[in-house]
Amino acid sequence: MDESAAIAQLKQGDISGLETLVRQHYFQAVRTAYLITHNVAQAEDVVQTAFLRVYERIQQFDSLRPFASWFSRIVVNDAIKAATRQSLHEVGLADEIQAEMSSDELEPQTWLEQLETRQEVWQALSQLSPMQRAAIVCRYYLELSEAETAERLECAPGTVKAHLHIARRRLRVLLYDLQPAPATHPKPGKLNGGVR
């Protein structure tokens, strides 16, 4: 069954339409939520709850729009909320932007090419705020444009730029901190008011 038929069925109250949507979108959604929450059980909870919401609100879904975008928006935002509730070191965006303005300017993304191990990156990502992680996940994992990321995160494109910029900088700092400091590499500037 294709997606549009599944949605039409669900709108009629036939739950087999939801079954199709679950099988098509579940794993990608849980993985996305997992990358934001860093907790599998929490990610599963977010996605299952999101499907319940789909079930309840399907009548409000415009069938002319792509379901994946609509659903992804629910999942990403719920994952941010879930992660934020558990975050002990949330930093307001305004504070970070202010800190960013006073920090040293860094090079563009060439440092990403130097990433070596998944564990290091995973550990560094856990140090970001949920919103920063969500921006990274949307941009690099889901490979959305900044405009699409803004739509998913329900914020302005400029805000996405700020989140991504700060997240990249922080990742760079964290990854340098996580590795044995190479003698030949200068250590990049650390953010004031950071999470560490």
Partner: protein, 762 residues
């Protein structure tokens, strides 16, 4: 988010992808997890779901179970799975002690994750094992009667059905196992499977029994076995019912298992039940189900509340009392997944959908002569719209149509779907196809249809049945809303051409003939709008504002705003603080007042009361109610003097689960208040479990659903007319159960969407 997702192109993306795949393996079926969440049943106590069960359109779930118990249960799933394996092993040992039995191999399962654990539990409970075969999925013999014979008249006597519970119908059997039936199993002779002909059956085990009951069935003359299918498992000759894992939460404290019985031939059968320390036998008469009567036997209309009589499979089968509906117009309703139409003029009812079809969207035409219904083919998933008379005659079909609306003037129907938008005469004498799409609405005063996208992508415009089109404004809009005088159309758009914050939504109005569109309201950035209705004098609008377009905020209710149009200085006035469902707003016949359910929160059992608003006076008055009660589902009478509504106790005891929910449902009673919110009274205390009263056009009757939280539900007609100033009351059962097979009608938070269950032309 579609699978499969290609590998990301950036190094960081690839690392994220690798981590995500490691953290979230995709080697299991996620559907049972979501399905169980829908049911509100923890993953360790629910059977594996089949496609048959997935036809259930609405399922009940109690948030308390999910929110309170989910995490501990997830942690304990491994223990539950091991316990289930242990119980199965014990059962297997019991079976292998019998010389003529073999027990199916139980697959070895090594739980590796929460999801896998959940799956393990679902696969293991309840377990249906086979006898006389080495496979757990034995294939039935090929000796299936080509034409199923009738229920034989000369079988050994079957026991008298006994009343067991108020939640399900009478049953036959003995301690501890009961079949909810009258001892006769009418099979569907039209549907032959590899296991024979089938019929639904509900098994119930008494509350005092704990353990496993083994169920088998054989033909008394030649030993031909019956097959059983509980919870979607493969049909087997032996069914194990484990009280630790009932198949349905309804009926508590009884343990219930909705299932199917398959027989290859008609005959006299015996059901043998075994459990540790005992056994029992039950005679059954099995054969072709009697055909649906089109001229039911007349019964007298009782003066008070009259309960339905048991049907072929008590508590599960269709039960219609046509005489209860005499002279009440036409009624379409869904029962057991099939659409039926009952004609109160002829006292005849007809099944309109065929086997393999479902319908959850249907409505009578303006003159009641035609019924339009969207049907879905369960095999191909194809959608189409069918129009026919109430007896199914003069049927015509439009493929691909999924949403439709009857015109207010003339007998025209608009429907949209994959092929665009169609305008059809009710009798199909005229049919035109347009490329239009999006929301649409008929004019209240002429045969004109406003449509959001006159072309494929854009353009609010007008269509007429003779094929004419005219563009009103070339913007991307939401569904149009006609003013009551038919002169103006309101619509929303998020275009910022007229100013306002980015992403803001705007309310515009435009004349039916076109001209300049007038901006009436602009939201703050990111807020979204939902138009509710026009003022009755066409000078203002009611709408709801959804902060940041949040679905979760909307689910807990949005304020109803009232805005006078064409007044630059006018600002919206909040009339109702929180309205959860738009259907909870009912207009007085003159359109000057409305009654709405106010109170935040998506759960029906808390924080809900009635508010009667005078639109022109911009004033609302709360209907008095006692503490610890809620008021729901108001309906203004046709003569404008009174409002019928449901009042229930509040709040529900979350910890009580489904039993508590069923108890709460039973507190739902029919109440009436006058139009001035001054005289409120209970109509009939013994008329419990009331759902969504609907007035007849003459104001003398109310059509109500009644349910106690399970699938024991039905439609009732209540007489509420007044004689000599004294209100009379009598109620009678009309039809039930409503919904799909073994359907618990309640939604996640106790809300029933009646639009998909019935349509009444009064």
């Amino acid at each position: 988010m579609n699978e499969p997702k290609p590998q990301p192109r950036t190094p960081l993306g690839r690392i994220l992808d690798e981590q995500a795949r490691l953290g979230v393996p995709d080697n299991f079926d996620p559907w049972p997890l979501v399905f169980n969440r829908l049911q509100g049943v923890n993953s360790d106590s629910k059977v594996e779901q089949s496609s048959a069960l997935t036809q259930i359109p609405t399922v009940a779930a109690r948030p308390a179970k999910i929110k309170v118990w989910r995490r501990p249960i997830l942690v304990g799933l491994g223990i539950a799975a091991l316990l289930a394996i242990f119980l199965v092993a014990i059962s297997a040992l019991l079976l292998t002690n019998r010389p003529d039995n073999k027990v199916a191999n139980i697959p070895t399962i090594t739980p590796t994750s929460q999801a896998a654990l959940a799956q393990t539990a679902q696969i293991l409970t309840p377990v249906a094992s086979s006898t006389g075969a080495s496979s757990s999925s034995p294939v039935a013999t090929s000796n299936i009667e080509a034409t199923l014979g009738p229920i034989p008249p000369n079988c050994p006597p079957t026991p008298q059905p006994q009343e067991l519970s108020s939640i399900f119908g009478p049953g036959v059997g003995s301690y501890p196992l009961w079949l909810i039936s009258d001892g006769r199993v009418g099979l569907n002779g039209d549907k032959q499977t590899q296991y024979g002909y089938l019929q639904k059956a509900l098994w119930e085990v008494e509350p005092s029994f704990t353990g496993t009951v083994t169920v088998r069935g054989t033909n008394l003359s030649d030993g031909t076995p019956l097959y059983f299918q509980a919870g979607g498992a493969t049909p087997t000759m032996t069914m194990l019912l484990d009280t630790n894992n009932p198949g349905t939460p309804t009926g508590a404290p009884w343990k219930g298992w909705p299932s199917y019985i398959y027989a290859t031939k008609a005959g006299c059968y015996v059901i043998e039940a075994q459990w540790t320390g005992g056994s029992s036998k039950l005679n059954l008469e099995v054969g072709a189900e009697p055909t649906t009567p089109t001229t039911p036997v007349a019964t007298s209309i009782p003066p008070t509340i009259v309960a339905p009589s048991p049907s072929v499979i008590g508590g599960v089968g269709l039960n219609v009392q046509p005489n209860s509906f005499t002279g009440q117009g036409k009624l379409a309703f869904v029962s057991q997944g099939q659409l039926y139409a009952l004609d109160g003029a002829t006292n005849q009812y007809h099944q309109l959908t065929k086997t393999g079809e479902t319908s959850g969207q249907f409505a009578w035409s303006g003159n009641g002569q035609w019924l339009a219904y969207v049907i879905s083919d369960t095999q191909t998933s194809r959608i189409s719209l069918r129009i026919s008379h109430s007896d199914g005659s003069n049927s015509n079909q439009i493929p691909g149509c999924s949403e439709f609306a009857w015109s207010h003037v003339g007998q025209w129907l608009a429907c949209s779907g994959q092929g665009g938008l169609w305008l059809s005469a009710a009798d199909s004498s005229s049919l035109r196809q347009f490329t239009a799409s999006g929301g649409f609405a008929w004019s209240p005063v002429m045969a004109e249809l406003a449509v959001a996208h006159l072309t494929k992508d854009n353009g609010l415009g007008i269509l007429t049945p003779d094929g004419k089109t005219r563009l009103l404004v070339n913007v991307n809009t939401g569904a149009p809303l006609w003013s009551p005088d038919g002169k103006t159309i309101a619509y929303t758009t998020n275009l910022t051409a007229s100013g306002g914050p980015a992403n803001a939504e705007h309310i515009f109005t435009i004349g039916e003939a076109g001209g300049e569109a007038k901006q009436q309201f602009v939201t703050n950035s990111k807020d979204s709008l939902q138009l509710l209705d026009w003022w009755p004098n066409s000078k203002g609008l009611l709408f709801q504002l959804d902060p940041q377009g949040s679905a979760s905020i909307a689910a807990d209710g949005l304020a109803v705003q009232s805005l006078e149009l064409n007044k630059p200085a006018a600002t919206p006035q909040t009339l109702v603080q929180n309205l959860v469902h738009p259907s909870w707003l009912s207009w007085s016949p003159d359109g000057n007042k409305f009654v709405a359910v106010e109170g935040s929160g998506r759960e029906l059992w808390r924080n809900k009361w009635l508010l009667i608003c005078d639109l022109l006076a911009n004033d609302c008055k709360k209907v008095p109610q006692a503490a610890n009660t809620v008021s729901l589902e108001p309906a203004w009478s046709p003569d404008g003097t009174q409002i019928a509504f449901v009042r229930a106790d509040a709040p529900i005891n979350y910890a009580g689960g489904d039993a508590a929910f069923a108890a709460w449902s039973n507190t739902r009673a029919l109440w009436i208040v006058d139009a001035y919110a001054s005289n409120v009274h209970l109509v009939a205390s013994q008329f419990s479990g009331v759902q969504t009263p609907i007035w007849s056009h003459d104001g003398k009757h109310l059509l109500c659903g009644r349910t106690n939280g399970g699938y024991n539900n039905g439609l009732w007609l209540a007489d509420v007319g007044a004689d000599d100033g004294k209100q009379n009351f009598a109620a009678r059962f009309v039809a039930g159960p409503l919904g799909a097979n073994q359907n618990n009608l309640f939604g996640f938070y106790g809300y029933i969407n009646w639009v998909g269950l019935l349509s009444w032309y009064s």
